[in-house]
Symmetry: C2
């Protein structure tokens, strides 16, 4: 039974900080990606997405078709774009955008085979290869993304065409894997969480059954991918079918205890598991989710909410292996962690999940995006040193500035759809209770009739006010980092019940609730078990992890150390600086240059002020040194 229900994409009208990013998505990212998908964007690699659907339609009609172009999962770019467009349309009606989406949906519908199969890679040609390479071919992954798009577009616009296409596709998959008992499970999990959405949007119980099937049969026969490989004579990338850890297939998911392998695959899988657990009240499955969650947040997560610390396999490493400079910490993995956290909240209203959701969002997810919305980090290191980062063989992936849209463009559209649906993470509801998981300014309308108007300059101010319409309980998360926290109702301090990190405040019509969190800058200290961080500290304020960039510190960050005994000053909010932000000024020391590579003379240190900016904004001023974790002097 769900402890919290998701709100409709139409329920939230954003303002403030969230509104600014949603606007960036609407104005820049969605239109730009549209051009990319149509191969009309300048200075960008060919995408081929539109033409693939056109050619698949032609192939089905027996017309001459050009060959498929792009990665095997190219179709998913269309899906993520439609999903982002849908969320944007839910908040901001836009007839041109809707026309563009409808046109693409028409192409998609025309590319669906009679039996419901939909994947341009194996429709334009190679029809005989369908379903023969679950390990690599991403058919179920692409189906999953398109199902998510279908649900979002239906919920946002009421238009059923894509939902019908994907319900037909789900039935095709159901026949194959349930009725015809075909073996196998997705190489890249995604469809599990998507089928849960389909189950709710289309009300089709086959979708629930199929989600449960894929989750339960995963790893039950770890040798499935080997057997599959023996039967086929082709490969996509030559993936090793016995790399069980990479694809989370070594044992049944209910028995898995460590978050391992490809980080995006892992958290997408766990998201589906947690959704199924709450939907079907499956305590055993939730316990497995909880173990995996603890493995992540207690041993394998960066302070920025980034996960997957090694480039090899874009994967989780062993416990406490969290290097800053060679971090992989993919933007998509942080997005997936937010998915997972949101589904955990639906099993158990616990502030810990909201805390992590916020941590990933404000730091790694937003850090993936250049201020102009046109360049993106896939890899989000916590330290960047020009000359080494991006250059050393161990740091090649750790670029010093955001590159433009990639051909393999998983992260930018994933960020678009996450940001444009932020309301669904920020708010939730359950009967008479409305939940505020994140502090997102704007208006929310709940299905129980309540409305909230949230006003705040968060994360730069720590007063959050809620004006209530209707009657019920307002449940607000109290973040773990807030040293003190005051709650006012209609001007009077109150002491509401606080349970697992949420304050439960009974409210009536026209009540004004004000939450005052502690925005004092604070240093965070790593577990002594993380060797890479011994003796270091990171500067934080609210949900924001700060970083130290060369641009603010005379070009040099690596010879600086911080003194946590000294108070940190908060600068005025500056609208003109890095798109609007607040610098922090710490005190510490600057080491003077040494003679030689190693010297017997202790370096001289001069006290100095050290400037910090939010981590999410690093790399917006060209290549320069950046460090999150600083030596303590």
């Amino acid at each position: 039974m769900k402890t919290m229900e998701r709100i409709s994409p139409k329920a939230y009208r954003s303002e403030g900080f969230a509104g600014k990013y949603m606007e960036l998505v609407r104005r820049e990212m969605i239109p730009y990606q549209y051009k990319v998908l149509r191969d009309e964007a300048e200075n960008t690699e060919r995408s081929g997405v539109f033409s693939n659907f056109i050619n698949a339609g032609r192939a089905l009609r027996g017309e001459k078709a050009e060959p498929f172009y792009g990665m095997v999962f190219q179709d998913s770019d269309a899906a993520k774009w439609i999903e982002a467009a849908a969320y944007s349309l839910a908040a901001n009606p836009d007839s041109k955008l809707m026309e563009e989406a409808d046109e693409l949906i028409d192409l998609i519908a025309a590319a669906q085979d009679e039996d419901g199969y939909l994947d341009t890679r194996f429709t334009i040609s190679d029809k005989e290869k369908r379903w023969t390479n679950l390990l690599e071919a991403h058919e179920l992954y692409c189906a999953g993304h398109m199902m998510e798009a279908a649900c979002a577009y239906y919920e946002a616009t009421g238009k059923r065409k894509l939902l019908d296409v994907m319900e037909k596709n789900a039935e095709h998959i159901y026949r194959r894997f349930i009725e015809d008992k075909a073996e196998g499970y997705p190489g890249h999990p995604e469809i599990e969480l998507a089928l849960m959405k389909m189950y709710r949007a289309a009300g089709n119980p086959h979708c629930l059954e199929l989600a449960k099937h894929f989750i339960d049969c995963r790893g039950a026969d770890p040798r499935y991918y080997e057997k599959e490989k023996e039967k086929r004579d082709w490969t996509v990338w030559g993936n090793n079918p016995v790399d069980y850890e990479y694809q989370q297939s070594g044992k049944p998911v209910r028995e898995q205890t460590e978050a391992a392998g490809h980080a995006v695959r892992a958290v997408y899988l766990y998201t589906g598991m947690a959704d199924l657990a709450s939907e079907t009240d499956d305590k055993e499955l939730f316990a497995a989710c909880r173990r995996l969650w603890e493995s992540i947040v207690n041993k394998r997560m960066y302070i920025t909410g980034g996960i997957g610390s090694v480039v090899q396999g874009e994967a989780f490493s062993v416990d406490y292996d969290l290097p800053s400079d060679t971090a992989y910490s993919e933007t998509c993995a942080a997005i997936g962690l937010m998915f997972f956290a949101s589904r955990m909240l639906e099993n158990d209203v616990n502030g810990e999940y909201g805390d992590v959701m916020e941590q990933a969002f404000y730091n790694t997810v937003l850090g993936g995006i250049q201020l102009d919305g046109k360049r993106f980090f896939y890899v989000n290191p916590l330290e960047s040193i020009p000359g080494i980062s991006g250059k050393s063989p161990t740091h090649r992936h750790a670029l010093t500035t955001r590159p433009g849209w990639y051909a393999c463009a998983c992260c930018p559209p994933n960020a678009s759809r996450l940001i444009s649906s932020l309301g669904q993470y920020a708010y939730g509801e359950k009967e008479k209770t409305v939940f505020c998981n994140l502090y997102a300014a704007g208006e929310v309308t709940f299905s129980n009739g309540m409305k909230l108007r949230c006003e705040t300059e968060y994360p730069y101010d720590f007063n959050i006010s809620y004006s209530v319409s209707g009657e019920g309980v307002l449940a607000v998360r109290i973040p773990h980092w807030s040293g003190k926290c005051e709650i006012n109702k209609n001007g009077a301090v109150i002491s509401p019940e606080i349970k697992k990190g949420y304050a439960y405040i009974p409210v009536s019509h026209r009540d004004m609730v004000m939450l005052s969190l502690d925005g004092t800058p604070r240093y965070a200290y790593p577990s002594e078990k993380i060797p890479a961080l011994s003796g270091k500290a990171a500067l934080c304020r609210g949900p924001l992890v700060y970083c130290f960039e060369g641009a603010d510190n005379g070009g040099d960050v690596i010879s600086l150390s911080v003194d946590p005994a000294e108070a940190v000053r908060v600068c005025e909010y500056d609208e003109a600086f890095l798109g609007g932000t607040q610098k922090l000024i710490a005190r510490g020391y600057k080491r003077e240059p040494q003679n030689g590579l190693y010297s017997c003379a202790a370096p001289k240190k001069t006290p100095c002020e050290i400037y910090a900016v939010p981590y999410s904004l690093w790399g917006n001023r060209g290549e320069n040194q950046m460090r999150v974790w600083m030596e303590i002097c």
Copy 2:
């Protein structure tokens, strides 16, 4: 013109610290490797070296031969063993060992083709592949090692058989590359330095000409390996011929300015270059050597004298990329750096070269060897954390304990030959001057008639006394790390001329010279340009870098920090501890365990004593934490 000449392998009789290691080589490593080469060692992978030579001889005689076994450079194991055996025989006559060596030399001679070609890989079969793959096939590399063995065996025993074989082989190579003008140069440099030895031992000017040829044509046509690859239809490992940096072939060596690529290849090449420069008084070539030397010691060397910081290509990384935990720092590369340093001394008597030679020897070279002489590190990280080291995808190469003899056994026999010829690095001569580069106890006889008897417990005591027979100048290196230094002659303090790190002391028969160096433990501080070492310090004493191991510190090193303001205590020398050593006791702090992965509470620190042992002795007590660079509290 050489500023310093090498002494004969027979000139030095070792005692003390060096003697102990030379004894370990003689008693354990040489006999053990002999069994390995004959495939008679237990629990060791097949070597096939003896049988390869036997089978090559059979093939040449038209008898039935078994296939070649092992790596393409398998023959070089025989060469390194003979070279080590030769040096050992020079100091310790041993008729059984000489018989074993003679028997192997007979097999080698019988495996040489009529035209002088010698390489079992392309003699047992595949004769048509000879000289078609200089990039990978290691024919010139194996020839180089065998030439070094031939010179050493001749110098140690006066026996010419192997020297004659290798002179014939050198003539074969001379005909091919000089007379017949075949294109190309060695994929793995080695023969250059070996030809310089051959030139001196056999007095054959073709060897000098050939060394100069290979050095000067290297990189003159960077596309050579590509053209070679186009002509052949086979490969060893599929090496990329355009990876110019890896094989130092991107431009002529005289134009190279950065130490780059495979570290062993690089320093072997530079060694040959420096030897040629001093032999032929080639100032331009020496200037290139000096630039490459500075690139290493000023920007790309670990404090342990280790080089090659990345596992990818076992190679140098970019400047200042010197991570401790993922270091490659191959034992063979440190040995090669000693070669290079010794040849630089022959161009320019400068204490800097001796300092680095000593740094590499006492730390990385000796650190490669288990105390029992039976297990070896190839990779010498400066930090080892069980659970991460050897396990994380980025740390797989960084094993926590020394494994046994590998099939690809480059490092153990390389260490054997280096240690058993240590006298040639420790001492040098030039006309009436004798040089003490390292402080190696024992007796040395110089070709100018002078004799020295050196008594010292160095590196655990810092008084070094020399008893002189004969008359001349005693030139003793004064290490850069010695804060103060006193020199006594016959009981009176003297102030001799000190020039570029060497004290020049005129001596007469029966003079007693005593050098008193400063053995006060000291902290070393890294350049602020090394990001991985910000805010850290390493504890050193004399030439020894110390490390902190869990075994001496309650299992936990990563929560310790040192306080360099506190004096470090030196423990009594303990013969029973780690084969005889001295612990150091530093003062610092232990951080108490934190709650959670990241915490807002500053960790509590308790003052404590922290025990350190020489880095070269780490990993002799099973898997445990080890750290060289410690946080400063």
